[in-house]
C-alpha cells in the first residue's frame, strides 16, 4: 500500500510519519501531484495558521488537487479545518470539501468558571461513526489543540464537547478528517489511524 503525507509548511508532518512507522507503515512525504494522485491513502496533516497555509497550498496547486482526490484522504487538525468552506482564522476561503464554516471558540463569562482557549488536552469522543471509528472508541479520550472549531452537522463523524458540542471528526464520501491529533492520542489514536489505513 502506498501512503502519502502531503508535504507543506505544517508543523506535525514528522509526528504523523513517526506514528505510521510505529504501526508498521512507511509513508512518503511529498507535494508531487502525481505521487499524491497515485497513492492508496493520502494524509493531509496540519499545525499552523489558516490563511498563510491556504496561500501556500494555492502556490503549489494543492488547493485544486486535494478536493479532486478519489482515494481515502485523512485531514488532521488544521488539515480538517482547511477542508471546510471557510475559516474565521484570517477570514480565509478554504477547500470546500465539507460544507462547514470554521469558527473561533468564544470563552463564556469568567463567572461561569475560567474556560481556557485554546482547547488543549485530552477530551472524549461521543457519537462516533464507522468506519473511521469503531464502537469501542465511544467515550475514549483523544488529544486536541485548537482555538477554532467546526460545529456539529450532517458530516460529523464524531463529537466532543468544549464550551459546547463540536465536530471532533468529519466524513464525506472518501474524505475523512479529525480535529484532534490521532498521531498523539496514544492507543485510541493508533486505532483510528489503523482504521483509516485498513479501509
Amino acid at each position: 500500500m502506498k501512503i502519502v503525507i502531503i508535504k507543506y509548511n505544517a508543523g506535525n508532518i514528522q509526528s504523523v510519519s513517526f506514528a505510521l512507522e510505529r504501526l508498521g507503515y512507511q509513508a512518503e512525504i511529498t507535494a508531487d501531484h502525481d505521487a499524491i494522485r497515485n497513492a492508496d491513502k493520502v494524509i493531509f496533516p496540519g499545525v499552523g495558521e489558516a490563511s498563510t497555509t491556504m496561500a501556500y497550498l494555492k502556490s503549489e496547486g494543492l488547493d485544486q488537487l486535494i478536493p479532486s482526490l478519489k482515494q481515502p484522504v485523512l485531514g488532521i487538525c488544521l488539515g480538517m479545518q482547511l477542508m471546510c468552506s471557510h475559516s474565521e482564522e484570517g477570514d480565509t476561503p478554504c477547500l470546500g470539501i465539507f460544507d462547514e464554516k470554521v469558527k473561533k471558540f468564544i470563552a463564556p463569562p469568567k463567572d461561569s468558571g475560567n474556560i481556557k482557549i485554546p482547547h488543549m488536552g485530552w477530551n472524549q469522543l461521543t457519537n462516533v461513526r464507522e468506519p473511521l471509528f469503531n464502537k469501542e472508541l465511544e467515550n475514549e479520550y483523544v488529544y486536541f489543540v485548537h482555538s477554532f472549531y467546526v460545529a456539529t452537522g450532517p458530516d460529523t463523524a464524531a463529537e466532543s464537547n468544549y464550551i459546547h458540542p463540536f465536530s471532533a471528526a468529519l466524513r464525506k464520501d472518501n474524505f475523512y478528517a479529525t480535529q484532534f491529533h490521532p498521531e498523539k492520542s496514544s492507543k485510541a489514536g493508533e486505532q483510528i489511524l489503523r482504521n483509516f489505513l485498513e479501509m
Partner: protein, 251 residues
C-alpha cells in the same frame, strides 16, 4: 469533558535521565526514551524533557534524543532547556517536539516569546516561570534554576507572556519545589483566574492528595512532577484512579 493532565518531567544530561529511577521493568535505567514510553503506557497525559546539559556543544545530543522520543512515544511532549534562539526551537520542532518551553531566555529577552509564537504558533510555546514568594501575593521571578532573582513579578510576567503569545504557563514555585508538601495553590488559583491560557503547576507534589488540591483549590489545568514518579512513590495508574474516584476529570 476536558481532562486534567498529569505530566511527568524528566531531567536529561548528555542524553540520559539524571535522577535515579526505581523501575524494575526498565531495561536501561538512564534511557529517557524507555522511561518516557513507560510513563506513556501507564497513562501519563504528556511528558516534559528538560535538557540540563550545560555545554553548548552537547546540544546536538539532545536534538537526536528528541527525534528518538518522537519516534517512540505516542503522546505529546514538551522539551526545554537552553532554548534562546528561533533556530534552537526550529531544530527541536523538526525533530518532532510538540512544544518547547522557554524560561530564563524569555526573562532576559521577552521578545523571544513573541517571535516564537509568530513563527511556530502559540500552541508550540510554553513559558516556564520559576518564582519565589517574597511576601503574601508578591512573587519574584527567578532565573538560572531559581538562583538569581529578577525585577519581574510572577503575575505581571505571566500576563505579559500571554499577551506576547505564550500558549501555556508552567509555573514552578521555588519555595515548594522538592519539599513535597503540596503545590502553591493560592498563587496557582490566582494565575489560573487571571489568565486565559492553561496553567501547568509544578513544585511540591509529594502525595496523591496534592494533585487533588492543585486541580480543585489551585485550579490548575495540569500537574507536573518528577521524583515521585521516577522513584515510583506514586505510580501514575494509582494516582489517576484516585483522582477519578475523587471526582476529578481524568483520562
Amino acid at each position: 469533558m476536558l481532562a486534567k493532565r498529569i505530566i511527568p518531567c524528566l531531567d536529561i544530561r548528555n542524553g540520559q535521565t539524571v535522577k535515579g529511577v526505581k523501575f524494575l521493568d526498565i531495561k536501561e535505567v538512564g534511557d529517557p526514551v524507555e522511561l518516557g514510553a513507560l510513563y506513556a503506557q501507564q497513562g501519563a497525559d504528556e511528558l516534559v524533557f528538560l535538557d540540563i546539559t550545560a555545554s553548548h556543544e552537547k546540544r546536538k545530543t539532545f536534538v537526536d534524543l528528541v527525534k528518538r522520543i518522537a519516534q517512540h512515544i505516542n503522546i505529546p511532549f514538551t522539551v526545554g532547556g537552553g532554548i534562546s534562539e528561533l533556530s534552537d526551537a526550529d531544530a527541536l520542532l523538526s525533530a518532532g517536539a510538540d512544544k518547547i518551553s522557554i524560561n530564563s531566555s524569555a526573562v532576559r529577552n521577552p521578545q523571544l516569546i513573541s517571535d516564537m509564537a509568530q513563527h511556530f504558533g502559540s500552541q508550540f510555546v510554553v513559558v516556564a516561570i520559576d518564582a519565589k514568594q517574597i511576601a503574601g501575593d508578591d512573587w519574584t521571578v527567578t532565573v538560572n534554576g531559581g538562583r538569581i532573582p529578577t525585577e519581574k513579578r510572577l503575575f505581571s510576567w505571566a500576563r505579559e507572556a500571554e499577551e506576547r503569545g505564550a500558549g501555556e504557563i508552567l509555573f514552578t514555585s521555588m519555595d515548594h519545589d522538592g519539599v513535597k508538601q503540596g503545590f502553591a495553590n493560592e498563587a496557582l488559583a490566582r494565575l489560573s483566574d487571571e489568565r486565559g491560557i492553561p496553567i501547568i503547576a509544578s513544585g511540591g507534589a509529594g502525595a496523591k492528595e496534592h494533585f487533588k488540591d492543585v486541580f480543585t483549590k489551585g485550579k490548575a489545568d495540569a500537574g507536573l512532577a518528577a521524583s515521585i514518579f521516577h522513584f515510583n512513590e506514586i505510580p501514575i495508574p494509582e494516582l489517576k484512579a484516585y483522582l477519578k474516584n475523587e471526582g476529578i476529570s481524568i483520562r
